[in-house]
């Protein structure tokens, strides 16, 4: 569902991603790990079409090099770094934009709200609150809800658990795991290697723009590469 084939990008003259090849098949939950500055967000933006690769191809839901505005409509839910809720819109409006991004119409939004309410009961209590005034934890939940409400088949998330209390992190990962169990394809970008590798099937490790490890989650958990990158 997501395929990067020898993708390289640069910021001005500075190369960032170097020949990154990454695949997430239908129904897979794959995590992308890497220390600060490794290029994880750059990869997210490349998948979302915000950054054009200098070489290589990006294919999302079968569509090569799709424009950013078209990605969501391909059935892709996006949770960008720092959540990026529209602060001056209400929670309901944020959710509505998330719904229409994927569905391209308003029909069925009320049903979508009901479904979201089952996953995130607390989100429904805050529909009329300005998103900018939500607590960090609430924003994280609304950002996930906004990505999910249109029932995308693919989910791409950039450090969704950042800044959450341990209890909320577990809750968050439980929801992601549940979505995956229901058939969603997930690319989870994370710093929290321990949690991510517990729920993912496969993982990639990015360091200074290159994939330095690519293996089953089980194997990565024991890998010295991961240990060295994170704990040395």
């Amino acid at each position: 569902m997501i395929e990067l084939e020898a993708v390289s990008t640069r910021y001005g003259a500075v190369p960032m991603l170097r020949e990154v090849t990454l695949r997430v098949g239908a129904g897979e939950l794959v995590c992308l790990l890497g220390p600060n500055g490794a290029g994880k967000t750059t990869l997210f933006k490349t998948v979302a079409g915000l950054i054009r690769p200098t070489s290589g191809t990006v294919r999302v839901a079968g569509s090569p090099d799709a424009r950013t505005e078209r990605i969501a409509a391909l059935g892709v839910g996006l949770v960008p770094e720092n959540r990026r809720l529209f602060p001056g819109l209400t929670v309901a409006q944020n959710l509505c934009l998330g719904y229409e991004a994927v569905r391209r119409e308003r029909v069925g939004f009320d049903q979508g709200l009901e479904d979201i309410g089952r996953l995130f009961p607390r989100v429904l209590e805050r529909l009329d609150q300005m998103a900018g005034t939500l607590s960090g934890g609430e924003q994280a939940m609304v950002a996930l809800a906004r990505a999910l409400i249109g029932r995308p088949t693919v989910l791409v998330m950039d450090e969704p658990s950042l800044g959450l209390a341990p209890k909320l992190i577990r809750e968050y990962f439980r929801i992601v795991e549940e979505l995956h169990a229901r058939g969603s394809t997930v690319l989870l970008i994370e710093q929290n290697a321990g949690m991510a590798l517990r729920i993912a099937q496969r993982g990639y490790v990015l360091s200074r723009g290159s994939v330095v490890a690519d293996d089953a989650a089980e194997a990565l958990r024991k890998s010295s590469v991961v240990r060295n990158l994170y704990f040395s």
């Binding site: 505005e69 996006l78 819109l89 509505c96 934009l97 229409e100």
Partner: protein
């Protein structure tokens, strides 16, 4: 008493026109992050467009010419964005400033060259004739009633569009986080076009009333009208619609007051108005109601 009421009416009339221009500056800045310095010039082409339509199609009638001018100026905004302003969206603010100022000069000179006898002032008819009523001895013309009424209605309509419509939700999403809006499937170019149309058409209404109020149109009227509208938006807080309205009323109030109490006050109108702009910029750079300070260019 009669004098006071008359001045109050002048104040509201002036505030109404200023607000029609100021909201455009504010809306465009909020969405594009570009200060569109030629917005006043775009707005003040409206009287020329209206008279031009009348010259080209005398059978159309004045009413049709006015409506046509509002719509055409709306599209003019869209076209100007397309040929020029959109190219400066991510450029340094200084470049956008120079570009939009240059665009204003081009517009003024084009009017001068293309409109018959364009260097000279031309009379512009009153959009509404006659006296509506007298209150405490002061006469209120239908024109002034229409100016205030149209301005209030326009503000009301803009509020509905921005805060109650799907388009408004998208306009605000783009103005709050352009990149996230794109991730949410919103095509920013469509939103920019809609915003330009709304702002320019609103400005056209203000431009038509301005010409009608003073009874004439001149190719360079957009300079002062634009500066006043921009100043009102800055005083209220750029990017904030309520701020633009409040700023317009404050600015118009001060102008009217200067005119009423200073000897030879009319001559000092602009001195007083722009002094207020300076004072606000020094002490409250974000404007009376604003949160975003005017970007340094």
């Amino acid at each position: 008493m009669e004098q006071v009421v008359q001045q109050l009416i002048n104040w509201l009339a002036l505030g109404a026109i200023t607000a029609l221009l100021a909201v455009g500056f504010s809306l465009l800045f909020g969405v594009l992050n570009v200060i569109h310095f030629s917005h006043g010039d775009v707005a003040l082409t409206a009287p020329f467009v209206a008279m031009g339509v009348l010259i080209a199609l005398p059978a159309a009638g004045f009413g049709v010419a006015i409506i046509a001018a509002i719509v055409l100026v709306g599209f003019m905004g869209v076209i100007l964005d397309w040929v020029s302003i959109r190219r400066f969206r991510s450029a340094p603010p200084m470049m956008a400033l120079v570009a939009t100022v240059a665009l204003g000069i081009v517009l003024r000179e084009l009017i001068r060259l293309l409109y018959p006898n364009g260097s000279n002032p031309h009379s512009f008819p009153r959009l509404f004739e006659g006296t509506a009523f007298t209150i405490a001895g002061a006469t209120v013309s239908w024109l002034v009633v229409a100016m205030i009424g149209c301005s209030v209605l326009t503000m009301f309509a803009l509020t509905l569009i921005l805060y109650r419509s799907p388009l408004g939700m998208r306009i605000r999403a783009v103005s709050q986080d352009l990149e996230m809006a794109r991730l949410a499937g919103i095509d920013p170019n469509g939103i920019f076009q809609a915003t330009f149309f709304i702002a320019s058409a609103t400005g056209a209404v203000g431009g038509l009333f301005t010409a009608s109020y003073v009874g004439l149109m001149r190719f360079d009227m957009g300079i002062i009208a634009g500066l006043l509208g921009f100043s009102a938006a800055v005083i209220g807080g750029l990017g904030n619609m309520t701020g633009a309205i409040v700023g317009s009323l404050v600015l118009a109030g001060l102008e009217t007051l200067a005119q009423a109490i200073l000897p030879d006050g009319a001559a000092y109108r602009l001195v007083v108005a722009f002094t207020l702009v300076l004072v606000v910029l020094v002490f409250r750079p974000a404007g009376l109601l604003g949160r975003v300070p005017v970007p340094k260019v």
